[in-house]
């Protein structure tokens, strides 16, 4: 069982979600986040005050999958979230010890 954490460009969310749905993935958690990597921020000017905004809005998508589904899901995310330009984001894959579905008490792969 693994957790995929993908930081992507906000406008790519719909495409990524559709691609994951096509693979039969039935749930995910999405958060609006801010951050920066190699992509530079931008400048905002309010009359005489100029501010450099380093933290750019991104989407963090989290999904926990059985080991067998991880490779396909990562490939789908990378394929659909790619624009080829700097700032496309990153995908992290982390091991997960266990998962419990609260409603049924199911655990492990059955719970995700």
């Amino acid at each position: 069982m693994k957790k995929i954490e993908a930081i992507i460009k906000p406008f790519k969310l719909e495409e990524v979600k559709d691609a994951l749905s096509e693979l039969g993935i039935e749930g995910m958690t999405v958060t609006e986040v801010k951050g920066f990597g190699r992509q530079k921020g931008h400048t905002e000017i309010y009359r005489g005050s100029e501010y450099t905004v380093d933290f750019l809005p991104k989407i963090k998508l989290e999904v926990v999958l059985a080991d067998s589904a991880v490779e396909g899901a990562v490939a789908a995310i990378v394929k659909t979230a790619k624009t080829g330009k700097i700032g496309d984001g990153k995908v992290f894959v982390l091991p997960v010890e266990n998962a419990i579905r609260i409603r049924t008490d199911e655990t492990g792969d059955k719970a995700v």
Binding site: E44, I45, Y46, R47, G48, S49, Y51, V53
Partner: protein
Amino acid sequence: MIKKTTSVIRLLAAVASLAMLGAVTSTLHADTNAPAAAPAPAAAPTPLATPNPTNSAFASASITNQVAFLEAAHSNSDPDPSGIAYESDPGHNAWMMVASAFVLMMTLPGLALFYGGLVRSKNVLSIIAMCFGITCLVSLLWWAFGYSLVFGTSFTPSSGPSTLGYILGGSEYFFFKGVNSLPNTNYAFWVSQNVYSIFQLTFAIITPALIFGATAERMKFGAIMAFVFGWMFIVYFPLAHMVWGATGLMNGVWNAAAKIPAIDFAGGTVVHMSSGWTALILCLILGKRVGHGGKEPMMPHSLVLTFIGTALLWVGWYGFNAGSAVAADVIAANAFTTPTLAPAIGALTWPLVEWIFKGKPSVLGFCSGAVAGLVVITPACGFVNSTGAVIIGVVAGTIPYISSTIVKNIFKYDDALDTFGVHGVGGTCGALITGILVDPTVNGNLQAVATGSPANAAMSNGLITAIASHSLVVAQAKAAGITIALAVVGTVILGYLVKFTIGLRPSVEQEHQGLDIVDHGEEGYTH
């Protein structure tokens, strides 16, 4: 906490005793049954003691005089020759009531939203509370003393002008004594004095509210209210009387004995210069916001609110400028046209300058250009023609832009919302440029009366000569100088007085937390 409660109770007691004093004076006045002290022209018919829907003098007058009376209302002139007593005219009154409501709308909610959007979200309520608090406090002061000190005349002895009378009006209208629905013919032949006094109140409200854009996000609510209390007496009431009072020092249009025959149609000196220069000095006394100068981002939290505020200010400005004709007449029509053109051109110019020098035309640029255009046209709106208004728009889109971007960054003062940059500098430009672009053909009060008629004020005090010889700008510069001096000196005195008594600023920790929670115990937004 107990100490705080006691001081609030004391404040309430003071308000209550003021109200009681007002009640007593009004009763005394009713006993004597004297008509409104009218230092009007000596030959004027006696005003009706009480507002009377049926003017009995009208019914018994000849048809010729009845027509003359109605024609005087039609053309906003003196009905005196008809021999029929003064009364208010529904048309002029209707416009002035609407205009008054418009100017109040400039503060609540116009300025509150304009400034409120420009601060960080943790301070948005502090701006709203400031605007609301000032509206209510100034209303009380205006009823008790302000209207009389500005528009009364009793401090000028019958023997002739006096120094005191040049600077302050009189005591005859304290607690609105005698301020009823009949006109005060010193200021309008056809508008009820109670309507006129409320119209002028709305100016007295927005002027101090403008100041606290410069001090935004770091001045305690109590300190703001204490400062405003003193500022109205030391700066606003004297200045408004000098410029607009019948016996005022610098009232070139209406005071035949004016020492400085300057002109200010709707408040370039009284409203914008006074608040703008006060703002500069007060923000210097106060010091910068914690984290100012690039250490902390201080971006406007909602330019949408700022846009709505700007639009409300612009619409309200029609009452502010066209209403300053104190009639629905030909001069009002001109003062309605010019504050359309100037802000439109200002809001075209400011973002254009940004586009050229900074790469993008911003919405804040549109808002700033529109407000600057309105500020600069204010003293000129009833005195310049449409070409003058367009020129003023261009000036408004450039000079306040330079002052609130380049100059501010050179001297590094924290005029948070650019009150000085836009109102101080814009108001000063307006006062001076009015002296250059003045066009007497748009305003009959700037023209000599026909040969044989008694001279009007503008002839007696040298205003008409100054316009003819293109030297009016000298009088305008003197008026601007007096305004700056009064605002600076008054603010230094009051600023340090408040600083060393109740204190001006919250603690650094409180400032970080935001004034909404610290001063008002609530939040503008719960997420």
